[in-house]
């Protein structure tokens, strides 16, 4: 039997002739598949350099299909801007925020996200600090109205443009060096425009729409009317409501805080005893000083403000127990006040409570027929301890231990703890039947 004959001999598993599919159904199915393939592949082909498959474009346009408007990858639109956000990192007192879409001001919340077009209003005693995405910080003082105008980043160049508009305001801005060259932070007042790329500035806009700009570090490009100028470190510029530069003044550099050193602790037995000296260094002469002592690092809760100080030090009295922040600024004889010094922190403790003594169980040890007693316990950290007039050094946590040798029946043990301000606690214990 030849191979052909063998093949003919083999019976098919399924006789296809048995299944009859209507021809129309087959045609419809083929057309459907073709349409499906075209629909899927058409946009993909078009994206590839647009003209690689021109025939498909023609077919597509014939059927009314158009290439997707997506741009070519190597030619992004240089004008496409992404919007970014800012955050309210500190809010104190009466501070309200109004978003662009809303008509009413709402109470501001800490960590609230701020967007383009948002307006922040602080009332008397109200403070707010805004942290922009790139690390720039804006401190808004009481009775201010600030509008966040722009917060955009160019998608291609990554250059960022931030701008805020000030109406009647008192603000401070710390602008960091931009990560991308060309990025800028702009403050717009009714009479001037200040472009900042890296600086610390203070801007005040009065009720009469007059502006005052102080530059504490870096430099700022200021545009007033058609005029443009650079204001550098420790300079201030006054701009009239008629958009005219009144004058540029030099500001004194901030003093450097001396003593007490940062995070110093002071202990007093009574409030009446509380007295300390705050000192600072300054190379300038003919200036006076303003000192501020506050309960918070933002200097919103001021407890002491003294101006016109001619000495480089001041005596402070009557401060209650608490943590305090202090800083100093210099003021020239013409009344121009420079930037405040960096602040320092100190702590006051008015302590009238004697240190507590908690004794462990007495441990009696017999050594060669004699009895020794181990006294251990806990007192305040830093308290001085004596046991039967022998000084015992407690550890950092206030734990102490001492072995009293050769004790007899009815031996009295006197433990005395004296804290830093002299409060004294005495505990007596008698050893019975050792």
């Amino acid at each position: 039997m030849t191979r052909k004959e063998m093949r003919k001999e083999r019976k098919p598993l399924l006789d296809w002739k048995m299944i009859r599919i209507p021809r129309v159904l087959v045609r419809v199915f083929v057309i459907f598949i073709l349409i499906l393939v075209l629909a899927v592949s058409f946009p993909i082909f078009l994206k590839k350099e647009g003209g690689r498959f021109p025939f498909l474009v023609k077919i597509g346009s014939f059927f009314g299909l158009q290439a997707s408007p997506e741009k070519k990858q190597d030619e992004p639109d240089s004008n496409v801007m992404d919007v970014y956000f800012a955050r309210l990192v500190y809010v104190k007192g009466d501070v309200n925020v109004k978003s662009q879409k809303e008509l009413k001001f709402q109470k501001a919340e800490k960590d609230q996200i701020l967007r383009e077009g948002d307006t922040i209003r602080t009332y008397s005693g109200g403070y707010a600090e805004v942290l922009f995405d790139e690390g720039n910080k804006l401190t808004i003082k009481p009775d201010s109205l600030v509008v966040i105008h722009d917060m955009k980043e160019n998608r291609l160049t990554k250059i960022r443009k931030s701008s805020i508009n000030l109406l009647q305001s008192d603000v401070e801005a710390v602008v960091r060096r931009p990560k991308i060259e060309g990025s800028e932070f702009v403050i717009v007042t009714p009479t001037a425009l200040a472009k900042i790329s890296e600086a610390k500035v203070a801007v005040q806009v009065s009720k009469e729409q007059e502006s005052k700009l102080k530059v504490f570090s870096g430099a700022v490009d200021v545009k007033v009317g058609g005029e443009s100028m650079e204001v550098v470190r420790n300079q201030s510029v006054d701009i009239s409501k008629e958009k005219k530069i009144r004058e540029i003044k030099d500001l004194p550099a901030p003093p450097k805080l001396g003593s007490p050193e940062n995070l110093a602790e002071f202990f007093f037995k009574n409030l009446s005893e509380m007295k300390m000296v705050l000192k600072w260094d300054d190379s300038l002469s003919g200036v006076t000083y303003r000192i501020q002592v506050a309960l918070d690092p933002y200097f919103t809760d001021l407890v002491i403000v003294r101006t016109g100080l001619s000495e480089k030090g001041v005596v402070v009295q009557g401060l209650k127990s608490g943590i305090y922040y202090w800083r100093v600024s210099s003021i020239t004889s013409e009344g121009n006040e420079g930037d405040f010094s960096d602040y320092s922190v100190f702590k006051i403790t008015i302590d009238q409570t004697p240190p507590d003594i908690v004794l462990d169980d007495l441990l009696l040890l017999k050594v060669s027929g004699k009895v020794n007693a181990q006294i251990s316990g806990q007192t305040e950290p830093d308290a001085a301890v004596t046991i039967n007039d022998v000084p015992v050094l407690p550890d950092k946590t206030g734990r102490f231990k001492y072995v009293l040798s050769q004790i007899s029946s009815d031996t009295e043990i006197t433990i005395v703890a004296v804290d830093r301000v002299g409060n004294r606690k005495i505990v007596k214990k008698t050893v019975q039947n050792p």
């Binding site: 960091r176 995070l263 602790e265 690092p297 943590i323 960096d342 950290p381």
Partner: protein, 271 residues
């Protein structure tokens, strides 16, 4: 055998031995493959098998300093500081210009409290390579330990100047600023930048918390120090920082419970 044939055999043997791996018949390719595998095992945490591989490479190629250095790293990871130090020393004996081993050995010496030896070790390395950022950073750490904060600041600044942005160098400079009680705003910026690059780095979180303490911003300070301690519960320095902050703000109970918690961890003393 003719004298010519003898010479040829001698030359052949010399070449074979000079290759350093002839005695075991191992090629460089095989060694590289095993080396890569050992490093992979280290990264996967299979330190026992990795150690076997490194020891095998060292037996096969006893004059390769890199193997000793990596074995040292493995021992360091296992917490066997002395053994790690020995391996780094061997690497340096083979190649005194091998900077990585030098810096690693200095780290070991610092861990052992031998600050002066570490300083000397790094200064020797600095003579031929004055512009090496790692050495500058190491010297900064040594000076910080010795209490020469200003010198430490100079070294850390130089390391950053040489290498550019580096979270570790930023962290170290920020810590030095905090210790000097100066440039604290700059320290905050550096820490935040370092944290952006390494948000789960306990050391950076600790420094940020410590800088916030120095700034008197205590809620942030305790928040970051807590995070740091969660990531590094066995790190005495972090615990000590948090205890200091709690005590300073008058939260003595929290400080005490931290101390007690620390004393329960093996190898931890009182902060």
């Amino acid at each position: 055998m003719s004298s010519c044939a003898k010479k040829m055999i001698r030359v052949f043997l010399l070449c074979f031995l000079y290759s350093g791996c002839g005695s075991l018949g191992i090629g460089n390719e095989t060694a590289d493959r095993v080396f890569t595998e050992a490093n992979r095992l280290v990264s996967e945490g299979d330190l026992r098998r990795a150690e076997e591989k490194f020891l095998w490479i060292i037996r096969s190629m006893p004059r390769n300093p890199r193997s000793y250095n990596n074995l040292g790293n493995l021992y360091f990871k296992k917490g066997e500081i002395d053994k790690a130090g020995m391996q780094y020393r061997k690497a340096l004996e083979l190649n005194s210009g091998y900077l990585i081993a030098r810096v690693n050995l200095a780290v070991i010496l610092l861990k052992q409290g031998k600050t002066e030896d570490a300083l000397q070790m790094l200064q020797e390395g600095l003579k031929p390579y004055p512009e090496n950022a790692e050495l500058q950073n190491g010297l900064g750490i040594c000076e910080l330990r010795r209490g020469n904060i200003q010198k430490a600041i100079q070294h850390f600044r130089k390391a950053i100047d040489i290498q550019g942005p580096n979270p570790l160098f930023y962290n170290n400079l920020a810590y030095a600023y905090a210790e000097s009680n100066d440039f604290l705003n700059e320290a905050l910026k550096l820490c935040k930048d370092a944290l952006k690059a390494e948000p789960q780095n306990g050391i950076v979180l600790d420094t940020l918390g410590w800088v916030y303490f120095k700034r008197g911003i205590f809620d942030q300070s305790t928040e970051y120090l807590r995070k740091a301690l969660d990531l590094k519960p066995g790190e005495n320095a972090v615990r000590s920082h948090l205890v200091t902050v709690y005590r300073w703000i008058g939260e003595n109970e929290k400080a005490m419970s931290l101390i007690k918690e620390g004393s329960r961890i093996p190898g931890q003393g009182m902060p």
